[in-house]
């Protein structure tokens, strides 16, 4: 490891007299020299996602839910296989050159990832934060690269509408009327590659800060209203992130949460305003962006793939083009199981935030950049 510290807390302490970790628990800023680069990303989108407003942005668009497989669980693995192999091919890396693969999905025992990891042969750790897994794996991956523990790192998430329906709700062909608060589990997979940034940063998109989620709840027990349940997780993570003296809302071009959707987003905004944080129009939600209002998705999208598809297909591309500079990606998830909600327990929720800076990022006004 190099002598330079990977994390910027000591600098913050010098600037404000207190460690930022005590001001904002769980919020970690990487030292500028250690911030790793997002080298490549790759998306595989399902039928409803491919025909949505962001459909053009995805690398592969799959026209049907089975995709030639004999079960939807196998189809989800095929989505993930295409995403991971696609991203490795894009960067010209072979699996043998990758130090670590972090990934997760919604299925019991994270089976989609464990099976695909068995084919890839890259050292693998499965992670589960339900729909917030994308934030969790990117954050953990960035810290692993910043700390020098991995030089080439693969992150991935996947979800499939029909595998999630079957696990959390009902058999696929059962006639059930949807509620207006229901969200549709996105079908798709996204994969990302992380590596140390080239000296000076250059044109790379870098992960510059991470704010870990705390598991929260504000008493929502209804699994048909996950957006409302996840609002408190998003608000908690955002309030802690922006409590750091070096985080100022005006420095961000976009705050992308996922997946609060149309019911949860206004609730989370209201919670943040109660805490004194108003992010205005720069705060958008992946569950709202992924589908058009006339698609059969009720309140919007959800699922581990939802916010990851929007981040990779839409946001990172815009950052690479210089249309967006600094972005805060806040993946939200509900950590319930079918057993816990049937036993009447609340939906525990979590949100992990990852701050990204592209070549167009303006210098930060807040804090201790020096």
């Amino acid at each position: 490891m190099s002598a330079a510290p990977a994390f910027a807390d000591r600098a913050t302490e010098a600037a404000v007299g207190r460690s930022a970790r005590r001001l904002a628990p769980g919020a970690v800023r990487l030292a500028p020299s250690a911030a790793p680069a997002l080298v490549a990303w790759y998306t595989v989108a399902g039928p409803e996602e491919a025909t949505g407003p962001l459909g053009h942005a995805f690398d592969e668009r799959v026209p049907d839910y089975a995709w030639g497989e004999s079960s939807f669980e196998r189809t989800e693995r095929k989505f993930l296989r295409h995403a991971t192999q696609g991203v490795l091919a894009r960067a010209g890396w072979t699996p043998e050159e990758v130090d670590l693969h972090l990934g997760g999905d919604l299925l019991d025992e994270i089976t989609t990832h464990n099976f695909v990891a068995r084919e890839l042969g890259i050292p693998f750790v499965g992670m589960f934060s339900a729909c917030a897994t994308g934030g969790g794996v990117l954050a953990m991956g960035a810290l692993a690269v910043a700390a020098g523990a991995a030089e080439r790192l693969l992150c991935s998430v996947s979800s499939h509408y029909y595998t999630a329906e079957r696990q959390y709700r009902y058999p696929v062909e059962l006639g059930v009327e949807r509620l207006a608060t229901n969200q549709r589990t996105a079908t798709g997979a996204a994969a990302f590659l992380l590596a140390p940034a080239p000296p000076g940063g250059g044109e790379a998109i870098r992960v510059t800060a991470v704010t870990w989620g705390r598991v929260r709840d504000l008493g929502v027990k209804d699994p048909n209203n996950m957006g409302a349940a996840e609002g408190p997780a998003a608000a908690d993570t955002l309030l802690r992130h922006f409590s750091r003296p070096d985080a100022v809302p005006e420095d961000y071009d976009l705050v992308l949460t996922g997946d609060l959707a149309r019911v949860g987003l206004p609730l989370a905004r209201r919670l943040c305003r109660e805490g004194g944080l108003d992010l205005g129009e720069r705060w958008q939600d992946a569950g709202v962006l992924l589908y058009a209002p006339d698609q059969p998705v009720q309140a919007g999208g959800s699922g581990a793939a939802c916010c990851a598809l929007v981040l990779a297909g839409h946001v990172l591309t815009a950052m690479a083009r210089g249309e967006l500079g600094r972005v805060l990606f806040v993946a939200t998830g509900s950590l319930h199981s079918k057993t816990t909600y049937q036993q009447g327990d609340v939906l525990p929720v979590v949100a992990h935030a990852v701050e990204l800076e592209g070549p167009a990022a303006r210098p930060r006004r807040g804090g201790e950049e020096a």
Partner: protein, 163 residues
């Protein structure tokens, strides 16, 4: 950040529940009732057509009841297998769930779903995963009513089943 920003938003569960209730979109009850009435009525009209055919073939109304149920269960099951019934139910709601075709859908859908785990541990053990409660509480209610009916008959009140 300025002094106004706090790490905790300070909103408690009771207050948030009020927000959530106010934020939930109101269901259009009248439109849902109308859709359920039209779809349910459509299914019942098909049932009446089948009954008329059975009557025309010489069966009495009582004799036609069993073959009618079989025919409607078959139609519900076939529509489920063709992937039509769940789409109908998304629009029709209770109008598709309440007729006997809905019960057929509740049996066929898990059968299709869990067949992938094999015919014994999959289809065999989980085919009642949706319809099971209907059967359990249907049988329990039938037993309870028969008991009541029998007890009433002992004190000279003849009502319904035991009559």
């Amino acid at each position: 950040m300025g002094a106004a920003l706090r790490v905790e938003h300070g909103v408690d569960r009771r207050r948030y529940q009020e927000w959530v209730r106010a934020a939930e979109p109101r269901p259009h009850v009248a439109a849902a009732l109308l859709r359920a009435f039209l779809a349910g009525g459509m299914i019942c009209t098909v049932g009446q057509g089948v009954l008329n055919l059975l009557r025309a073939s010489g069966l009495s109304e009582k004799e036609a009841a069993a073959p009618l149920a079989v025919a409607m269960v078959f139609l519900g099951s076939a529509a489920t297998a063709l992937g039509v019934y769940d789409n109908l139910a998304k629009v029709a709601g209770m109008g598709a769930a309440l007729p006997i075709t809905g019960f057929s859908n509740a049996m066929t859908a898990p059968a299709m779903e869990y067949k992938r785990e094999g015919y014994v541990l999959g289809l065999g053990s989980r085919v009642f995963s949706v319809a099971g409660p209907v059967l359990v509480y249907g049988f329990a209610t039938a037993w309870l009513l028969a008991m009541v009916s029998w007890l009433l008959s002992r004190v000279g009140i003849h009502w319904g089943l035991a009559g």
